[in-house]
Amino acid sequence: MRRGLIAWSKAEIPESVFDARLARLRAAMAAEKLDALVVYTNNTRTAGVSWLTAFVPYWAEGLLVVPLSGDPLLTMAFSNRIVGWGKDVSHVARFEGGARPGIAAGKYLADCGAKHVGVVEFDSLRAAVVEDMAGNAGGAVLADATALFENIRTKPDSAEIALITKAGIIGQRALSLATGTETMIGEALAAVDHESRLLGAEEVYMAAAPDLDRDPRFRRMEGTVETGRSFALRATLAYKGHWVRVTRTYFRDKADEALADRAAARFAAAVAGLPSADGFKDFRSWNVEACRVTQPLDPMMGSQIDEPRALAPGSIANAQALITIDGRTIALAAPILVGREAFPSGFLVAPVFGRR
């Protein structure tokens, strides 16, 4: 579910940023001789359409049609009564509501005279949407254009870096509302969830490892659960369509916080070595996620991943790790910027420890 602030801040992402992204996309489309490109969005796969228009779905799915020239169309599966809201929170020339976005997108492709159409993540698009679109597109040839889009999407501009950083700061500030002295995990979760949303998060998925000594894996908490002598909270948080995963470990005994400082130093060293994963090899578990196409945090490499994907130099990613020191497990996660040329990889927002 989604239940946070949905807003487009022109101060944070001016129209010119979206216009520049659209121009880059169209240049790539022209090079590939595409007449139009289609990007899908829903609650889960937000990061393509939000990157091009600021629009983040609250519940419905939709399709963005970008003709090589002419107005882009965003068609969402909701009532026309909601279209006014959609227009208020997005930057797109045409915004429509309707029961079946596939049909609307197909008709628009036909109206535009598009013959060769690229579809982002074509294979994973839901089958009924593809059927609707293909059946109304006037015979246009639809083909996968994921690689084209990924090549552009993974080169962040300053606005994206700033908003990821802000999301990380919101997450860290919210995580600082828990102290480690909570006896029930719900108290800590409530404080962090509340603060995240007050600070403008459009969503925060809270997970916890309520007793790190017993099990360091994160789960969504339900009911009442007691905390152990150390626990960890993970906030997977979005701000204006920009997602981060931040984690903090809490200790009942303040003396244990030195462990976290040591873990943080090892984590920072491992992150600095990215895109090489060598620095993570001794960790209990780890992974690096990044937005490649439309999923905000796609798995890229890690201890669970058999076939790692390459991190693009200069791209935004998110690293997390479980590190064991003196028999104690510490959980960490933070957004990072992958190094390029002479600049090493580093945190956009560094993980922090210690009580408020």
Binding site: T44, Y58, W85, S124, R197, Y205, F218, M221, N287
Partner: protein, 363 residues
């Protein structure tokens, strides 16, 4: 254990109908089919699960965080992290290509998986699962009962949070903090504030509440995967006579809808009972799709499930179905107004699970 009972129901039905494998899909918005089969509600990425008549379940997830979470939140399920999820599941189905395989919801399957040129054939298993999603077992109703209790408590928090000067999204922060403190993992809500200019509820914005606003919301907290909903309207200050008169129509309509519910009647008859009240007061236009979406809907493992309460829906109600009855719509004198309670269909009628008074609140 509820998850095991659901699995047993499915297994028995699969054996009776000859379905040899059932594949279900879920994502962060709609996870009901996935949760029913795999007892896992997705938050990020796609989830696909396959259950076979021996009760074995494989759960494929394309998010690393979700795969880790599923490992700890589920039992007796094989969890697989599959970044290329459609291809991974397709490879799995290739191994049982000669089996009778049903998919639910079929239209939600990724194109690659549903491609007719694959070696296996997917038949539509949506209605096969829908029956289980709609008619609940007693333990499922218990979870909805608890969620409805949280909805009542949440509305009290919402009333206190709704103070002139605060922005809409700040109210959501208070609600979510409250639900997390109660161990409630999830909630869906939309809201509206203002007057005759408000035609619908929408996601929370930065609009500041002002004295005299009519504030609408629906809260939909979740207990063990099951959602209950409440819809209420309040006025920041004293309600006008017009607002009170309008609210009385909604109350009469909702109560007419609830009074109609019993096994054997259709969802359409319930909707008609609600809409007839609007028509009686010359407000029939506002019971049409121009101003409103549905007059209620099913509740369960999804916030907006079948049956939809609309006059053209012929789903026959059965004991054990759970739903909200909400004649929410625009009123020309006051703006958009909401009122709704979660109910469970009993052998003789309907049991209302929400306890919040059906008032137009003045705060």
């Amino acid at each position: 254990m509820l998850a095991q009972e659901r699995r047993n129901r499915l297994r028995e039905a699969m054996a009776q109908t000859g379905i040899e494998a059932l594949i279900v899909y879920g994502n962060s918005w709609q996870s009901d089919y996935l949760r029913y089969v795999a007892d896992f509600s997705s938050l990020e990425g796609h989830g696909l699960a396959i259950i076979t008549p021996d009760g074995s379940i494989e759960l494929f997830l394309d998010s690393a965080a979700e795969a880790e979470r599923a490992e700890i939140e589920t039992t007796d399920i094989k969890v697989k992290l599959a970044p290329e999820i459609a291809r991974a599941v397709s490879s799995r189905l290739d191994r049982i290509a000669n089996h009778r395989i049903a998919a639910a919801p079929l239209g939600f399957m990724p194109k690659f998986l549903a491609d007719a040129t694959r070696g296996y054939k997917l038949e539509d298993g949506t209605s096969f699962v829908d029956r289980f999603l709609m008619v609940k077992m007693p333990e499922e109703i218990d979870a909805i009962r608890q969620a409805a209790k949280w909805a009542d408590e949440g509305y009290e928090v919402f009333k206190k949070a709704a103070v002139p000067g605060r922005m809409q999204f700040e109210l959501i922060a208070d609600i979510e903090g409250f639900f997390r403190s109660r161990g409630c993992p999830d909630n869906f809500m939309i809201m509206g504030s203002g007057g005759k200019d408000v035609f619908a509820m929408a996601p929370p914005s930065e609009r500041r509440l002002v004295a005299g606003d009519m504030v609408t919301t629906e809260l939909t907290p979740n207990c063990r995967g099951y959602f209950a909903q409440i819809c209420r309207t309040m006025v920041l200050g004293k309600a006008s006579d017009l607002q009170k008169k309008a609210h009385a129509v909604y109350r009469e309509a909702m109560e007419a809808g609830i009074a109609t519910i019993r096994p054997g009647v259709t969802a359409g008859q319930v909707a008609k009972a609600e809409n007839d009240i609007f028509r009686k007061y010359g407000l029939g236009e506002y019971a049409t799709s121009k101003y409103t979406r549905v007059r209620g809907h099913g509740l369960g493992l999804f916030v907006d499930t079948k049956p939809h309460i609309l006059e053209d829906v012929d789903t026959v109600l059965e004991a054990g179905m759970t739903m909200i009855i909400h004649p929410n719509t625009y009123h020309p004198d006051t703006g958009y107004m909401v009122l709704g309670d979660t109910v469970v269909v009993t052998e003789t009628g309907a049991e209302v699970l929400c306890g919040t008074p059906r008032e137009l609140f003045e705060v």
